[in-house]
């Protein structure tokens, strides 16, 4: 496997958005894995050790921030960069996420797909 290819894990429960995101990231040269729940997401993360995680907040059972707290307890999970990509722009959630430790907090409807990719590239460079 090409070591230069970066692995991105997308955790997003909306199929349409997940398809659009994974299509864009694949076209941009990333290796993409997808999960539609926090439970599946953390399992994949700990198995595959992606280079970056894009995390939605409102998910079916466990919510994104709870998953993030769990992830941060893992030795590897402590350091993996996480970008929140949600449609909530609630500042309480933003500050909570910042406290747990995330690279950025993006609001889906306010950003372009290309902005998301650009931001991910920035983090991984």
């Amino acid at each position: 496997m090409n070591k230069l290819v970066k692995k991105v894990l997308l955790i997003e429960d909306e199929s349409v958005l997940l398809e659009l995101l994974s299509g864009k990231f694949k076209d941009s040269g990333f290796e993409v894995s997808c999960a539609q729940s926090a439970e599946a997401g953390i399992k994949l993360a700990l198995q595959n050790h992606p280079d970056l995680i894009l995390l939605d907040l409102i998910l079916p059972k466990m919510d994104g921030l709870t998953m993030l707290k769990k992830l941060r307890k893992d030795e590897w999970g402590k350091r993996v960069p996480v970008i929140i990509l949600s449609n909530l722009n609630d500042q309480r959630k933003v500050s909570e996420a910042m406290k747990i430790g995330v690279y950025d907090f993006l609001v889906k409807s306010n950003v372009k797909l290309s902005d998301v990719v650009k931001e991910v590239r920035e983090v991984l460079s």
Binding site: V16, L17, L20, S86, L88, Q91, V94, M98, N110, V111
Partner: protein, 507 residues
């Protein structure tokens, strides 16, 4: 007989009671020295005279009638109601006993023993008067007490009065209900020991930061939402107001009012949750459309010019829809009053950088030079971080929107002792003088931007609404075609002043 008379007179001469003896006419036969002393008359002056010379006219007639009846039937008589007149004209009241003296079965003399009770009577009257006054005072105090008690009990909030040391001196029934106390168990106890307060997350509020402390140490009114910690029960949100009681310039105690706001907090939470999911649910399909168009536009080689134009139109309108949705959600948030009762620590500098991240794309597209100046400590307490986000987002996105390519936009965040100041300036199109007073109205759009720039006319309405809600102020300075500066002043909540004072005390 002689010896008897001699002894009799001797006794009369030395006893302290005044004695007067008359015959049956009646004429005065004898008065003793005590009588002389009491009345000022000498025996030589009154001997043979009628005792009516002593009459004052103030003795009730019935007393004389009763006396006459008694004496004519040979009985003795005692009264306390006789008021006589002295030689000098002054009055005195006596406790008098009238005794007939018999000789051979017939009364021949009447002896009257008088005891001056004027002072006694006076004292009695005085006492009676005092007693009446006391009774009246007692009655009015009781009435006052009942009134105050009724007032206290009729208040729907818990009220506790405490002294300077924090000891509970009075409380009402509602307080008992809120805290689960019995008045007799807590009177005289320290308020701080009787219950604990926590924040929304359950962190115990230290004694120094409790509103009561503010009232006691700085004579200011302290208030805010706190959560009452009860053993084995859910914490109760209370809106607490603590007012100092000041006497001659010194704080002698405080009155605390506790309002149970469980209902409001629950309603707020429900509204909050509604908005939380509404914003998520409305934005998700919009994001899907916007991203799909973006993907279509990535490879537009196969499209005709007309198709490209259509794609761009769809994209622009979707963006417009997104902005309208954001405004609508913000307006709803404001009109719902979700901003109330949310007290938390916020850092406007961090919020500002979140806003700038959101606007980064547009700032870059227009090649705008953006500057952010912020003091080292911009932390603010008891302001709603979403509110600050909304204020900054509205003002900054306006600034970016109305500023031409290569222009400048700046944000300055500063803090005075009492206020947080946000200043947003731009080198944009400016606001005509006449429009400056109207821009905060709902749906108002100034003439110079109406057709050239897209907008809902809600942004500044929401912004000023939020600012008013927070007790702040917004001002505008603008020169058309040169630029605009908005200045927002938000009061810092009490806690920051309070914690500063606590620090000073410790130093």
């Amino acid at each position: 007989m002689n010896i008897e008379v001699f002894d009799y007179l001797r006794v009369l001469k030395i006893i302290p009671e005044a004695v007067i003896i008359t015959d049956t006419n009646p004429h005065i036969v004898y008065i003793n020295p005590a009588f002389e002393k009491l009345t000022g008359y000498k025996l030589s002056e009154v001997k043979g005279k009628n005792p009516r010379i002593l009459k004052s006219g103030k003795t009730p007639m019935r007393v004389y009638r009763a006396l006459y009846r008694a004496l004519t039937t040979g009985k003795s008589f005692t009264t306390k109601e006789v008021i006589n007149r002295r030689k000098d004209g002054s009055l005195y009241q006596i406790d008098a006993s009238y005794v007939p003296i018999y000789k051979e079965g017939k009364p021949v003399l009447y002896m009257q023993i008088q005891h001056d009770i004027t002072d006694h009577k006076k004292a009695e009257t005085e006492l009676a008067k005092r007693a009446a006054q006391l009774a009246a005072l007692n009655r009015s105090l009781q009435e006052e007490f009942v009134k105050e008690k009724a007032l206290l009990e009729s208040i729907g909030d818990g009220v506790i009065a405490m002294d300077k040391e924090g000891k509970i001196i009075a409380l009402n029934k509602k307080t008992e209900a809120i805290f689960g106390w019995k008045t007799k168990d807590v009177l005289g106890k320290s308020l701080f020991k009787e219950f604990q307060l926590a924040d929304e997350q359950g962190k115990i509020i230290p004694k120094d930061l409790r509103p009561i402390q503010l009232a006691l140490t700085s004579a200011q009114v302290g208030h805010g939402i706190y959560f009452l910690v009860k053993k084995g029960a859910e914490k109760t949100p209370l809106f607490i107001t603590s007012a100092p009681v000041v006497l001659d310039g010194a704080v002698v105690g405080a009155v605390n009012i506790y309002r149970d706001v469980s209902q409001q907090v629950a309603t707020d939470r429900a509204k909050d949750e509604f908005l939380y999911f509404a914003s998520h649910t409305l934005r998700t399909p919009l994001s899907a459309v916007a991203w799909s168009i973006e993907r279509l536009n990535e490879d537009s080689i196969g499209y005709s010019a007309e198709q490209k134009k259509s794609l761009n139109r769809i994209y622009d309108q979707t963006q417009r829809m997104i902005r309208l949705t954001n405004d609508l959600l913000d307006a709803t948030r404001m009109e719902f009053g979700v901003l109330s009762y949310k007290y938390e620590e916020t850092n406007p500098r961090i919020i500002a950088s979140n806003v700038i991240t959101d606007l980064k794309g547009r700032i870059k597209d227009k090649k705008i030079k953006f500057t952010l100046v912020a003091g080292k400590d911009t932390k603010a307490y008891q302001t709603y971080s979403n509110a600050i986000y909304m204020i900054l987002h509205n003002l900054l996105s306006n600034a970016v929107k109305f500023t031409p390519v290569n222009g400048t936009v700046g944000l300055r965040i500063s803090k005075t002792e009492k206020e947080l100041i946000l200043r947003v300036s731009d080198s944009g199109v400016g606001i005509p003088k006449l429009a400056q007073t109207k821009i905060f109205q709902k749906m108002y759009r100034a003439q110079n931007v109406k057709d050239k720039f897209e907008g809902s006319g809600l942004g500044l309405y929401i912004t000023s609404g939020i600012i008013n809600h927070m007790g702040g102020k917004i001002t505008v300075k603008s020169i058309p075609r040169q630029g605009t500066t908005f200045t927002v002043m938000l009061p810092l909540a009490l806690q920051i002043i309070q914690s500063k004072q606590a620090e000073n005390i410790h130093i």
